[in-house]
């Protein structure tokens, strides 16, 4: 299990078009792009970490009102025990007509040894 797979399932469940990294197809009026931010071994007391903190950014683009959608996403994230480390309205892109809202999340996962 990783933060990317969890976020993808969460947003699919909310019926929001989502892609990781870049939205490759023709973008709809509302969509989310997930960008991985960092994977860190923050929590360990010895030399062999067993958990890692994975962080990612959700960029919500919406041509309509974004507030309700933002609240819905945040509530779902918190419901999945993710930590919302930042929420920020980036601005309205006058050239494209999209509102841009960024939500940063983090969650601890057990280190997978494959």
């Amino acid at each position: 299990m990783s933060i990317l797979s969890e976020l993808n399932s969460l947003l699919d469940g909310l019926h929001i078009p989502v892609e990781t990294g870049v939205f490759s197809t023709v973008a709809p009026d509302e969509y989310v792009v997930i960008t991985p931010l960092a994977d860190t071994y923050e929590l360990h007391a010895d030399n062999r970490p067993e958990f890692e903190t994975q962080e990612a950014r959700l960029s919500l683009f919406s041509k309509g009102g974004y507030t309700q959608r933002k609240n819905q996403i945040c509530a779902a994230l918190l419901g999945m025990e993710m930590t919302v480390t930042d929420r920020r309205y980036i601005g309205h892109e006058d050239d494209t007509g999209y509102h841009h809202y960024a939500i940063d999340v983090a969650k601890e996962y057990e280190v997978q040894e494959e």
Binding site: T35, A38, T40, S59, H100
Partner: protein, 143 residues
């Protein structure tokens, strides 16, 4: 009734007294050390983000990376010392480095984000704390 008086060693008391006097000098030095650790990470991340995966050949001049720096330590209204890692302004073309950095960090519709600040914050937290601890110990030893 018996009475016991315990005295702290003179040299220790002297050091504590000097530490109190030198706080305004020591803290900026310690913060500068921590700020430089974060700056190196931010600079590395930004250098690798600029010009990567662009639709058209990059015309980067390196001005954005060159404008990165650490501010001198300043005291805020609560009395805490702070340093900031950020960009000097303005650009040669009178544009804003902060605006460009914001677009690189958060992206736009049709332009994927290339986060460099947030990952640097997460990745350098531990190294920054350790560097500041070492510097503070060094400063206290030198009192």
């Amino acid at each position: 009734m018996a009475k016991v008086t315990m005295k702290m060693p003179e040299d220790f008391l002297l050091k504590v007294s000097r530490l109190a006097d030198q706080t305004d000098v020591i803290l900026p030095r310690v913060l500068k050390t921590g700020g430089e650790v974060v700056l190196d990470k931010v600079k590395g991340n930004l250098s690798s983000a600029v010009g990567r995966g662009t639709k058209y050949p990059s015309k980067s001049t390196g001005e954005l990376v060159g404008a990165l720096g650490v501010s001198p330590a300043k005291q805020d209204r609560d009395g805490n010392f702070n340093v900031k890692v950020g960009f000097s302004e303005p650009r040669k073309d009178d544009g804003s480095n902060a605006k460009i950095a914001n677009i690189v960090e958060y992206g736009k519709h049709g332009q994927p984000p290339k986060p460099f600040l947030k990952p640097a914050k997460s990745a350098s937290r531990k190294a920054c704390t350790e560097a500041m601890t070492v510097k503070l110990d060094e400063e206290i030893r030198n009192l």
